[in-house]
């Protein structure tokens, strides 16, 4: 087990070995060395002698004084001193890099660094190189991405962003922060053109990448939209193709349903048949759930039509209930409560009063809103 801890959504990755890139080392000056045996504490540096270091105030017990690693306390004692005096200097700026190296999740250090960037009119292109290196080392940290966004905004230059984010995603294709940043860049600077292609590349690599599916929805809804039938047909084809490749794929089915649910799943001609075709060879709980949703939609819209045969309606209901039973008892038993619920609601909504289907488990959860239990018509 490693000695590294993850707290909340922020992964604090600590490196005991110093692995600076050249830019960072330059900023720290010549007397800083990567070799820890040659490290000179700030308290021993002549040019820092004017500052009174501020030791950590740890607040209450059992939050008691701790023996931090020497280097950590040294750097942070001096960081606190700089902060206290609100010193706006090159040495302060250099020290923020050290503090960040020791703990990149410390949001106060990042704040201070931004204040200094502006106060000292630092070269923002250099800062881009710096933040690129940091994110590369610690890509799952809110502060680093927020910092990068600020620099991009100040520079008004997003030209490196898509490539950079693609690079980070190549290391972890689901990095939530990376995707947020990507969405921001694309929207802010209108960089939609190649994004769908990018999404498809990622889905080629991992068809189950939920983030990529989300991005697909994002791009289309913000550009062409989903109202054009050609687009919808294209997307249906795409989904079904991916499902054939990997049938057990929650994201693809969620996407398909998400795209069609507002207009009604059964409104799409031929879709039900295509899904039924897949059922024999590429079945999954998701496919069955989708089928159920289709049948439910058929029932819903047949309610509104005058000339639907009672037999037809009952047939659809029966098929839907069979699916619930199959899922609850065999294909997705871990969610049997949900499937029982769906079956019951459907039956009470569309079943006839003299139907003789076997009873399914009742929903006993008191907080289920009454609205889901519809009265039979």
């Amino acid at each position: 087990m490693s000695g590294v801890e993850e707290s909340s959504h922020e992964s604090v990755e600590v490196k005991e070995n110093n692995a600076f890139d050249d830019d960072v080392e330059d900023q720290l000056g010549d007397d800083y060395a990567v070799d820890p045996t040659r490290y000179i504490f700030y308290r021993d540096r002549k040019e820092w002698a004017d500052l009174e270091p501020v030791p950590q105030d740890d607040g209450p017990n059992p939050v008691v004084k701790i023996a931090y690693s020497d280097k950590f306390s040294d750097v942070y004692d001096y960081f606190r001193a700089l902060l206290k005096n609100d010193e706006r200097s090159e040495r302060a700026f250099a020290l923020t890099a050290e503090a960040i190296e020791l703990n990149a999740a410390n949001y106060t250090v990042w704040h201070y660094r931004r204040v200094l960037l502006q106060a000292l009119s630092k070269d923002l292109e250099d800062e881009m190189r710096y933040i690129t290196a940091i994110i590369d080392e610690q890509p799952k940290n809110y502060q680093v991405w927020h910092h990068r966004r600020m620099v991009v905004e100040w520079l008004k230059d997003p030209s490196e962003e898509l490539e950079f984010i693609a690079d980070i995603l190549s290391q972890d294709a689901k990095n939530y922060h990376a995707w947020q940043h990507r969405q921001w860049v694309i929207q802010e600077y209108k960089l939609w053109d190649n994004e769908l292609e990018f999404v498809e590349t990622l889905l080629e690599e991992d068809v189950r990448n939920n983030s990529a599916w989300n991005q697909r929805h994002f791009v289309i809804s913000q550009t062409t939209g989903f109202s054009d039938p050609t687009i919808v047909e294209r997307e249906i084809k795409y989904c079904l193709k991916q499902i054939r490749k990997a049938p057990h794929n929650e994201s693809a089915w969620n996407y398909l349903k998400g795209m069609l649910q507002d207009r009604g799943l059964s409104s799409q001609p031929g879709l039900l048949e295509r899904v039924l075709e897949l059922k024999d060879t590429h079945c999954s709980p998701y496919l069955l759930a989708f089928l159920f949703d289709c049948y439910e939609d058929v029932l819903e819209s047949s309610n509104q039509k005058e000339n639907v045969e009672e037999e037809e309606r009952e047939g659809t209901l029966r098929k839907a209930l069979e699916i619930c039973k199959l899922l609850a008892q065999e294909k997705d038993t871990i969610r049997k409560e949900y499937w029982h619920f769906l079956g019951s609601s459907l039956k009470s909504k569309y079943g006839s009063s003299d139907s003789s289907e076997e009873s399914t488990a009742d929903n006993s959860e008191p907080s289920v809103p009454a609205s889901v239990q519809q009265e039979t018509s």
């Binding site: 000695g3 059992p62 701790i66 939530y176 939920n210 989300n214 349903k257 998400g258 006993s364």
Partner: protein, 296 residues
Amino acid sequence: MGTQVKDVIVKPDAPSSLMLDKHADYIAAYGAKKDDYEYTLSEYLRMSGIYWGLTVMDLMGQLPRMNQEEITDFIKSCQHECGGISASIGHDPHLLYTLSAVQILSLYDNVDAIDVDKVVEYVKGLQQEDGSFAGDKWGEIDTRFSFCAVATLALLGKMDKINVDKAVEFILSCMNFDGGFGCRPGSESHAGQIYCCTGFLSLTGQLHQVKADLLGWWLCERQLKSGGLNGRPEKLPDVCYSWWVLASLKIIGRIHWIDKAKLRAFILACQDEETGGFADRPGDMVDPFHTLFGSR
């Protein structure tokens, strides 16, 4: 055939009963160990760390083991002139830690230890034109912060001080095609964000706007064969998602859609029999954050 679905395996010899006393001891001792590097590193979230620890102790009926007076003093010294509260002394104020501080003081029934009006002013000042909330003066927008804002104000009884309608509008703009919510409009649905948004809508009396069946299904789909819950499709299970997902399901009235027994087995397996505390998944290192969410 496609790749394997991501999950973990719970070993047969994993812990299977709740070791409450060990967890209480773990929390009580947390921070008292010398040379605790991990503790040092988490200074930037100290206020939340204290909240998590206190809540666990309170749940186990052992709150008096913690030092209320010193904690209260600590919080007082973390309130800045602008009214906002920081994670620790010398850190900048932030909505996240403002909420944690108010939560702690609420536990102790002592919110007046700080300047409440100033807190309200701080929270109000972070609301943007589109109804969203920034986390602090640097402007990061995230639905987590909307939740922090209303939760803080709800605890203080001052929700009327912000533009609730606009805040709701923003949250609803973050609802995705799968019924879930992300951190900003268009962001991928994520259990942690969903917790914040459903919590928000509950606090603002707008739960009817949630697509409860759709979202409920998405949430119960987080349960994997191991019994554990993940935060979004195709990710590994993590004990803290037991909280985010479960609490969300409870808020929208669909908690019975999760297989309780299997989840329970998974959570218990995340305990560390030697040190006490919970880890994110069986076999990993424990921490107070996961200990709280495991205990809950």
